[in-house]
Amino acid sequence: MYKIAKHLAWLSLWRRKSRSIMVILMIALSLSGLLAIQGLYDGMITHMINTTIRSDSGEISLYTKEYRLHKSLAYKLSPVSKIEEKLSKIKEIISHSVRLQQEGLIATAHKSLGANIKGISLEKERDFGNFDTFITQGDYSFGKHKKEALIGATLAKKLHLDIGSRVVFTAQDADAEINAISFRISGIFKTGNPALDEYTVFVSMEKISTFLNLKESATQIALRIQNTEQIKQVQKKLQTMLPELEILRWDELYPLLIQMQEMMQIFNLASYMIVFIVAALGIFGVMLVSVLERLREFSIMLAIGTPYKMVRNQILLEATFLGLIGFMVGALLGWIILLYMSTWGVDLRSFEAGLETFGLNAILIADIQYYYFVQAFFAVFFATLLSVIWPLRILKKIKAIQVIQGKML
């Protein structure tokens, strides 16, 4: 019986070809659009999260309890080797980076700006987050004698710096003495993280330690964790192991990123809901008319003894086929668009300055997640169900006899 209903539904669908195609196109096009936007927005945020983790926070960062409030060298992590020794016992930590940072003034011969100076180890940063891939000009190197520096792209632009330019950095050292240090620029980096690109200069750990008159000290130790699921567990372990320190996850350090992600998810859900409620209205229009114009046929089917269930199944299946074909075409189309946007990206270089304000790259790379398609499937499914409720009620109410006698409803 189900087979007959399926057969009838399929044939009926193609009897009114233009209508069915319109509905399928409606579902497919809006679905692929929604998928594309979801992937693109998700990709943007994932990108921001990734670069933040890679360039700064890691999955987890360690500070002393007062450092983040005062940003003062008085609250430094020391001695570093003791902490590193403890970290080495946790096998989930795949790499870590030790950084020493101080605020100060960066100056060229003509201009000065507020900035941060940060001591790092290039090898460790490479292991930590492939920092070398952020270099846009020059080399990922502090030069032969470790006397050169890497500088953020926005800061370099503001100061009109090129590779080889000389800058002077003035800051207070650990003993509150104001010192100045001079170096050449060996490389310019662009991470998408405004705090780095606009305000930071990287120098070697050795050089900054001498400059600030410190030994074995750091302001931040950032950790990379193998699996996302292990982050909280590692955080707990560290909290018991190093109770005197502040152990923060990336999402605690950058709550805006998580908030943006949540907002985006709500926005996506709302878009799906609005779009598919309206789409359901479209499917409903077609289903209603196709039931109304076949009332006589359905009545005859019922009169000769066809069970109501079969007629109902036929209508349900018609709508389901429309939804299913729409979904498949839309999902395929969406997938192709997403695939394109995730491999080649969307080139928005003409809006580069605007995108940088948001911490975004000029080439946006989309994300593709399996769950997009599941979510889309349910949206189409519910729209389809919603659309046949009313037509089915009409069908239930018909008295076969009246329709056959020409007394239409």
């Binding site: 940003k71 507020g114 779009v275 209205l281 229009g285 304000t357």
Partner: protein
Amino acid sequence: MRFTLALKNILKSKGRSLTTLLLSLFTTTLFIVYVAFMDGSHHQIIKSSVEIYTGYAHVNLKGYRDESDYGNLIEDASSIDEILRNDTSIKTYAPRFETYALLSGDEKSVGSMIVGIIPSKEEKLSKLASSLSKGEYLNDNDTNAIYIGIKLAERLKITIGSQIAMVGSSIDYSIAADIFTVKGIFKTGLFDFDAQSAFVNKSYLDSVILSDNKATYFTVDFQNNDHINKVTSALQAKLPSQYEAVGWDSLLSSLVQAMLVDSIFGYISISIFFLVIFFVVMIFSYVNIYTRTREIGLLRALGLTSKDIFIILFIEILLLATVAVSIGAIIGGVIAHHYELQPIVIDGIAEMYKDYGLVSDEVPMHFDLFTITWNALTIFILNLLAIVYPALKINKLTATEAMRYV
């Protein structure tokens, strides 16, 4: 005749008419409110940037925008002052001298912008004076008093009465150093600004960094700032050729572009909604036309041409769309206007987007007749386009085919 037929058809197929009507009405309202809200938040962000400190236009030496260093100063500020004073289109103006220096508290140093201003003039030009949070604003007789941002004060761990050491460079590139006393602390809500700027009386700063009768730029407030490009080019004509007048849209170009990018994403998002509405209107028109196939066949048999039929169908959608879009535009306009005067308050949104320059939880909508008109027209045209395919399709049938249609 064709008009009567169209009108009768609308009244007869109430279900379709009502659906199309409500759908277009809803879409129009939604679109207008959506755009008004989006534009409103953008205007808010730009406006706060402009009004808090930047100002509507700057006058500076050509080249200063590219290289804002001591090599591109206004060397004879009084001559510019005179030109600006005699320009009736200008409401008020003031010179500023912006430089960067290392500011040190007892235990911390921070690199910061330090600006020489004329306190009494600045009071009318920017929100500096009204953003006072602690202590007092500057006056024109102050000497080594400094007025600093609240975040900067926190970073330096200082408060009213604390001493700050400044190390910077004079315009001859020699080291300039002095001690200032904190007179006031301000909070504008612009995160970066509050964390990175400090102000002193220009006449005193001039003596410290040797910048007498010099300025990095003049900030200008016109009598009417609505058409900034016009007024700045008018001002430009009066300036010596080595100077330029720059409007706020160029001064804040990356912010303006950021808002543009945000708008583009906004439009892309809502366009999917348009797509689905377009199809729904098309489907309803199609279905409606097809249930009338017999009747249309009869009209054709009676001698109406397919063009007549097309016109009838077109008049129908024209009437429906006109009514729906006008009502929708009015509702949308009223909402936009209402929330422009009484902004929506979203608790915590300023905190969340502080990095992007949102200073207040109040987000007003932007009521603009031009925007509302093009929004409404978009939906209107969308409606008209939706009828094309169904109408062409029905006109392909011959009269006899149409009459036999079951």
